[in-house]
């Protein structure tokens, strides 16, 4: 055992040296693409047989009979845990609500200059020819650019577009906009809006999307694993590229390891049940207070790592003064924390002892930072981990990505495929005047409704001032803001401000229904593509071979954008005269060249493509032994963090200078705008809108998988048994959930797996207003975001605060409204 450790150490020392002083002989040159080898490919489809493809939910094997998909199953099985999302590909292709033809809203078609935007969502749809639709989009895009300038065109277009490095719809949209004159984009995302902005101040890097201490190390060295506000069994079904599926494999191993596992979450998740973990349920949004109670206990009892704090952190003394009440006369001890969190003092003290006495890995999810003052929880978690002093040790410290994209699955050595880019080459390089200009107008992604409603408004953002642009034209692809954005009714109002809204979609999603021009797009099973799997591991290169013919009049986004580019005189810049297969070969060849230089064998593209099998790489030994922050711990001078001090900043002078009252210079407990502990509550229950176990956000809601989880044909709501009794609600009852922002209809699940006073409605149910286009109308399907709050986490990050919301519940007794969101609109 010791031998291995010593060996790893020496490898690391070398690595550290390389990081500072690059060696020229280690530098390699990338091979150039052999353009001459590209030839046209036969695109004959398999009529009867099997096709390998991939989605966010992993590599898939599709069975084709008479040109139709009849079965969808996982390509591989690496865990006993099932991934429900993998089985419904046929439903996705043959959905009842596929958009069949280009469609234009009636009033818009009549007069695009006076399009009656107030009718969006309620107007009739008119079928137009593909060419007519392309001309209309092109003309109106040109007009907006002429009248309003670049800042009039919004193409931030956030969402979980389909997998694939070729048909990457959001990037293709950006490419179109780049090639034709510029656009306004956005900063950040909905998943980690708060954390990804605060972490660079604290750790010098974004942290949330980075490789974790490898699972083999955790399994070998961690004694205690804490899963804090995460439900990996649900969230590990997907990856941004395509899941390598080893995340679930390792959680299965964790279960079998017999380690002590603690789940801290208002919900007893399926992960908690599966791992047979200890369940601790704090009041929602009080994790910071709980961490402070633990921190206070540790410092007070002298069970903390003074040396680590001194060597590797900045500003602990200032934080300590706050913790001990020197600055605000409030001592943040266990009893203080107990009153806020609802967790008894004994348990808080026990947690402190367990964390300190054992090698403990604190795995945190992201839900806790999608909250008011969401910058604080992970900052406090890092502070707590610093007090414990196990950061950089095998199996210790914290991890913010074990629940996502198979974090901790070791990184392989192989080739990385290329992908579609927003830049067209022609405009690449410095001196893009429009880029400079639009960067100035780019705003935090979750401020979209605020921006649409308040053009010209100035907001604070991470030390800068941002002015909202005056948006007249929106183009959205691969996303569903009518479901993913908070406070839907405000968004519905905001959505009526622009003159033109264009959406490329495969389905009549709530967002497509709120557009003016809808272009029918293919699903990824109707086109050829290629992807890596495992965002951190890069385990496989997966072919995504077209399985069936394009349905109805559906076109690839690439086709649609090529044709718009042609209208606007930018066809060559956009396409570089390359076909789908030429791009895919080029992307593959990039990986091939890289692998070849690393003396790894990869088949040539033709062989790979005709074989229709993924390529799997291996992780070198040192990557299986990766320990996050080990290099920093080994030598903080040679391997400083990217912070101003080069250390973990428990106190940030940079943030101090911003003088934001809602984000002070060290982790701080601040009451959220709505929570169960507030003096005058606007509603009775705290609502958690967790990641759904059987969807990718809103994706797959329109498949028959829904039948497995819907309750009385509505999105389920989890209600604590005692609360249900008080409210006279039984299993399967229809429940109206409401607050001052809106109302939704849900189906009751009565359970003890949720804390009293808390309800859970998973996010992602399609917004289905009983009266389409009318703000305030009841959502008949149960979209949680109708009830959430649309204010920023703080001036620092401007992240969304989906998990900060109070709601009321009552048994629904009115006339049961029809649910027709999954059918063709009228």
């Amino acid at each position: 055992m010791k031998l291995i450790n010593n060996k790893r150490r020496s490898v690391l020392k070398f690595a550290a040296l390389f990081a500072t002083i690059p060696f020229i002989d280690a530098v390699t040159n990338r091979g150039t693409l052999l353009a001459g080898t590209i030839a046209s490919f036969s695109t004959t489809l398999v009529k009867n047989g099997e096709v390998i493809t991939a989605a966010h939910w992993g590599m898939l094997k599709l069975t084709i009979k008479d040109g139709k998909i009849i079965k969808s199953e996982p390509y591989q099985k690496v865990s006993e845990l099932e991934n429900s999302l993998q089985l419904y590909t046929d439903d996705l292709v043959y959905a009842k609500d596929r958009i069949k033809y280009p469609m234009v809203r009636k009033s818009y078609l009549k007069d695009p200059n006076n399009p009656k935007p107030e009718l969006r969502g309620a107007d009739e749809w008119v079928r137009v020819s593909y060419d007519e639709a392309i001309k209309l989009i092109s003309t109106q895009l040109k007009k907006t650019r002429k009248d309003k300038g670049i800042e009039g065109v919004f193409a931030g277009s956030y969402g979980w577009k389909s997998s694939g490095n070729m048909h990457n719809s959001r990037i293709l949209l950006h490419r179109l906009m780049t090639a034709t004159g510029g656009f306004v984009g956005t900063a950040g995302d909905y998943s980690t809006g708060a954390s990804q902005v605060i972490m660079p101040h604290v750790l010098g890097t974004i942290e949330v999307y980075e490789q974790q201490t490898s699972w083999p190390i955790v399994l070998e060295h961690s004694k205690v694993v804490v899963i804090w506000g995460a439900n990996p069994l649900s969230t590990l079904k997907i990856s941004w590229t395509s899941s390598d599926e080893y995340g679930l494999h390792y959680f299965e191993k964790l279960k079998k390891s017999g380690k002590k596992i603690i789940c801290i979450d208002p919900v007893r998740t399926e992960t908690c049940d599966y791992l047979n973990a200890q369940w601790i349920a704090p009041v929602p949004n009080t994790d910071v207070a709980l961490m402070m109670g633990i921190a206070h206990t540790l410092v007070e009892t002298n069970k903390y790592d003074k040396n680590f704090l001194e060597e590797y952190t900045e500003g602990f003394e200032q934080f300590k003064d706050y913790l001990f009440g020197k600055t605000d006369k409030i001592v943040k001890d266990a009893s203080w924390a107990s009153k806020i969190t609802g967790i008894d003092v004994k348990t808080i003290k026990e947690l402190a002892n367990v964390f300190f006495d054992n090698r403990t890995m604190l795995m945190s999810g992201w839900g806790m930072q999608r909250a008011h003052h969401g910058e604080q929880p992970h900052w406090m978690l890092v502070t707590l981990a610093s007090i414990l002093g196990q950061i950089g040790l095998p199996g210790g410290g914290f991890g913010l990505s074990y629940h996502y994209s198979n974090g901790g699955s070791p990184t392989v050595k192989g080739g990385i495929i290329g992908g579609m880019t927003a830049s067209t080459g022609a405009s690449a390089g410095t001196g893009q005047s429009w880029l400079q200009k639009t960067t100035e107008f780019s705003f935090p992604v979750a401020r979209i409704a605020d921006a649409l409603l308040n053009p010209g408004k100035k907001i604070d953002f991470n030390g800068k001032t941002i002015t909202y642009p005056d948006i007249e034209f929106i183009y959205w692809v691969g996303g569903n803001p009518m479901v993913h954005h908070q406070d839907t009714n405000t968004l519905v109002k905001a959505w009526k401000k622009p003159r033109t809204i264009v959406v490329n979609e495969a389905y009549w999603t709530p967002t497509a229904r709120m557009a003016d021009i809808v272009m029918p797009s293919t699903t990824s099973y109707e086109r050829n593509d290629i992807t890596m799997t495992g965002d951190y591991s890069n385990l496989n290169i997966a072919p995504m071979k077209q399985a069936v013919k394009k349905q109805n009049e559906a076109r690839d986004d690439y086709q649609i954008f090529s044709d718009i580019a042609k209208e606007l005189g930018a066809f060559e810049a956009f396409t570089q005269n390359k076909t789908e297969m030429q791009w895919i070969e080029e992307f593959y060849t990039k990986a091939y060249d890289q692998a070849t230089q690393a003396n790894l064998k990869m088949p040539k593209f033709r062989e790979f493509w005709s074989k229709n099998e993924p390529i799997t790489f291996e992780a070198p030994y040192e990557n299986t032994q990766f320990i996050r922050y080990e290099d920093f711990r080994e030598d903080p001078i040679l391997n400083p963090l990217g912070t101003p001090s080069g250390k973990i900043e428990i106190y940030s002078k940079t943030i101090e200078k911003m003088k934001y009252e809602d984000c002070p210079a060290h982790p701080t407990w601040m009451e959220p705008v709505e929570w169960l502990g507030m003096k005058t509550k606007s509603a009775e229950f705290a609502m958690i809108s967790a990641h759904p176990a059987h969807r990718l956000h809103s994706q797959l809601n329109n498949t028959s998988l829904r039948e497995k989880y819907a309750v009385s044909n509505r999105e389920p709501i989890w209600i604590n048994t005692k609360d249900a009794k008080t409210k006279g609600i039984k299993n399967g009852d229809l429940v109206r959930v409401f607050n001052e922002r809106g109302q939704i209809l849900t189906g009751a699940i009565i359970t003890d797996a949720i804390a009293q006073g808390v309800v859970k409605v998973d996010q992602g149910a399609w917004y289905a207003p009983a009266e389409p286009g009318v703000a305030g109308s009841i959502c008949t399907n149960g979209s949680a975001n109708v009830l959430t709050i649309d204010i920023p986490s703080s001036k620092l990050a401007n992240g969304n605060i989906a998990h900060t919301a109070l709601v009321n519940i009552e048994k629904y007794s009115g006339k049961v409204p029809e649910l027709n969101i999954f059918e063709q609109p009228k």
Partner: protein, 198 residues
């Protein structure tokens, strides 16, 4: 007569190259003397150098930068920011001159220095802007396929290396491209003012 002619010629040759300013386009090895075989330092891409002497394939160059008190192995581009101009071996013996000393916001002392080194006469360019263009193009192609590209002004000079390092395994960038792109992003970072350098 012949001797003096030789000197004049030699002097003329020297003059021809003296103070010729160039920028490194790749990571370059630095040597202590013209005939030493082991390299004792690395010059980072986009770093400015002055050619003092040319002798066939080899050149003697002068490099300027800042050294932080207590860190002997690194020459930085500006005070208080970890933008590397050159990394040096611990036992390196380059000829250093101290130009001035000053203190950063934290009260740490920084020396403005220049030192001479020998290197090969290759991978050098007059056109810094072209290097930056190239770096931006590599950045666009490799770092904007999974997510939209980030403007260089989004992160600070100190943050960029950590951020690039954390994402690097997901790209096909070579080591040399990595160093070029990182240098470019650092020198155009949020906290870099126009033309900030020595």
């Amino acid at each position: 007569m012949k001797k003096s002619l030789f000197f004049i010629l030699a002097f003329a040759t020297l003059c021809l190259h003296a103070n010729e300013v160039k920028y490194s386009s790749s990571v370059k090895n630095l040597f202590e003397s013209a005939d030493s075989s082991g390299s004792k330092g690395r010059l980072l891409p986009t770093s400015k150098i002055k050619i003092l002497e040319k002798n066939g394939e080899n050149i003697k160059i002068e490099i300027e930068g800042y050294m932080k008190d207590g860190v002997s192995s690194a020459v930085y581009y500006s005070i208080g920011k970890r933008i590397l101009v050159a990394g040096l071996s611990k036992n390196a013996e380059f000829e250093f001159k101290t130009i001035s000393t000053s203190k950063d916001e934290e009260g740490v002392e920084w020396q403005k220095v220049s030192f001479t080194a020998f290197t090969k006469n290759d991978n050098l360019t007059d056109d810094l802007n072209d290097l930056y263009k190239n770096a931006q193009a590599i950045f666009d192609v490799n770092c904007a396929t999974c997510h939209p590209g980030h403007p260089s002004s989004e992160y600070t000079a100190n943050q960029w290396p950590s951020i690039i390092k954390s994402m690097l395994t997901r790209t096909a960038m070579t080591k040399d491209e990595n160093f070029l792109v990182t240098q470019y992003l650092q020198k155009h970072a949020k906290d870099m003012k126009e033309g900030e350098s020595k």
